[in-house]
Amino acid sequence: MTRLSPNLVPMLVVALLVLALYWPIMYLANIPAAQRALDTGAALPCKTAFECATQLRSPVLPSPQQLWNGFANLMFPLNSPNAIPINAAVTALETVVGLLLAAVVGFFFAIGMVASRAFERALLPWIVASQTVPIIAIAPMLVVLLGQYGVQGWLPKAIIAAYIAFFPITIGVAKGLKSPDPLALDLMKTYNANNWQTYLKLRFPASVPYLFTAFKVAMTAALIGAIVAEISTISFQGIGKMLAENSRASDVVAMWVIMLSSAALGILLVALVGWLERLLTPWRQAGARTATPKQARWPAREGVRGG
């Protein structure tokens, strides 16, 4: 937990800045609507347009107070099927399962692309093409197709999440597998290491830092994929289902609350990847090297302990 705290203060500063900017924009957006409401004689517990700007039933932008109340309404009771916690958990499950599926597919493609130029040439354009198809169009088609084979509920959403998450994983892992220094590959050759040993002892470990970077990108992609899939197909649970419902009910405040919750869920899931990364790559800790996963050919400085 202590590792989170260095991030926490700058994060809160940004939140305060956004709030400070949000306030005047909210007034600007709502005052004309409030004026119109007053002109038409709507029953409002306020007298001036400025006062009413924070109390509209369906505001253009909800006031912080309205958002706060909205959160209170939508968060509790915790186990209610219409509250955010359960629905967020379902979406999180779809996202994580989607990411794991994407990892399997991504690894398969990445190994193929590193092992064979022909495989890369034949498949890469199609992999790119698969990502340009609008997910909102392909999601219902996939659900119909999967439904044909009895795959229903949260699994089709996970598959759709995997569909857009496998791309960054494929590219990231392929780059990671290609990252070892040519000299390191020569070294394995002088040991007469076979292909499998070269992957196991050199290419896979070298790709781990790239893998986690790819996972962070893929996690946000998978979350969007899961939510879009929930919106564009028949869903009984999930953030996307809540968005679709409240959109039909024109509940602007609820829409904002759900949107912010899904953003928070995204932060949480990416933080989870970051935590796993720290756990599984102990050699990169203590500020050893900041961003570059590739080993420097020679350390820039003469080490910390002298030679």
């Binding site: 220094d181 002892k201 080993q295 080490g303 030679g307």
Partner: protein
């Protein structure tokens, strides 16, 4: 790739007193560069051979040919009576690269164990050998450190320990100290000589530095560029064991001058010292 290598399979390498034999070896890269032209060299067991010359003289190419990392365009190479490929597959040599090429995710000890894992040594023996090798290069206290915690000189010592871990009789070293400062380099030179005396290995050592070559070698192979070729071979008769004072003797300077003049004769001017 290896067009003429198999033409005379048993004619050379039969001499038991020769551990490395290079006969008429040439290397032309696909882009037409003649990296090495008609090289001939014989190395006896226990020798310390330095290959010296400016960039582009083919010294690294020659070492890579010996190690079967590339194959010659012409000529025959024998390593202990075997072809380079057979020698590589029987793990006849250890190779130390210009950069330490340590695996950053492995501790120092685990890095030294890497070749032993690849070669399927029993786990207990891997550990014992790696610890012995680290002691040999004076780094036993750093076994649990990660490479980034070590200085460049220490990293290169780990890579030497790693090359010696499976006890090959031959050690190929490609400018292992080229990126180090002069003071570290002179210390490591002394240490390398001590290792060589203690282990009785045959060493083939590539360098840019005349003093380093003179200090370390039993023979110096002077190479010159365009096209890369062996200009001459200079025997070094400085007495063993060599010490820091060896560098200040008259004979040392005479030999250094001899090497320098051989390089100049072959137009290999741009030698660093």
């Amino acid at each position: 790739m290896k067009a003429n290598t198999a033409s005379e399979p048993s004619a050379v390498g039969s001499n038991p007193g020769i551990v490395v034999s290079v006969q008429g070896v040439s290397m032309v890269f696909p882009n037409g560069t003649v990296a090495l032209k008609n090289a001939n060299l014989e190395v006896a067991p226990g020798e310390f051979i330095s290959l010296i010359g400016p960039s582009g003289c083919g010294k690294t190419t020659l070492l890579r040919l010996l190690a079967d990392l590339i194959q010659p365009s012409a000529g025959t190479i024998c390593i202990g009576g075997k072809t380079p490929e057979e020698a590589r597959k029987s793990r006849a040599y250890g190779y130390v690269f210009q950069a330490p090429t340590l695996m950053e995710w492995r501790t120092v000890l685990a890095n030294v164990m890497l070749p032993l894992e690849v070669m399927n040594f029993p786990p207990a023996e891997r550990r014992a050998r790696a610890e012995r090798m680290l002691a040999l290069v004076g780094l036993e206290k750093f076994a649990r450190h990660y490479p980034w915690q070590l200085s460049g000189g220490m990293q290169q010592r780990v890579s030497i320990a790693r090359a010696l871990a499976f006890d090959p009789q031959l050690l190929f070293m490609d400018e292992p100290f080229g990126a180090l400062d002069e003071i570290t380099r002179e210390n490591l030179n002394l240490e390398l000589l001590r290792l060589w005396r203690e282990t009785g290995k045959t060493v083939i050592f590539v360098t840019h530095s005349i003093p380093e070559a003179v200090f370390l070698s039993t023979r110096i192979v002077v190479m010159t560029p365009r096209p890369g070729k062996i200009e001459t071979v200079i025997p070094v008769d400085l007495p063993q064991p060599r010490t820091f004072e060896t560098r200040e003797t008259t004979r040392f300077f005479e030999l250094a001058t001899e090497v320098r003049e051989a390089l100049r004769k072959g137009h290999g001017y741009e030698v660093m010292e």
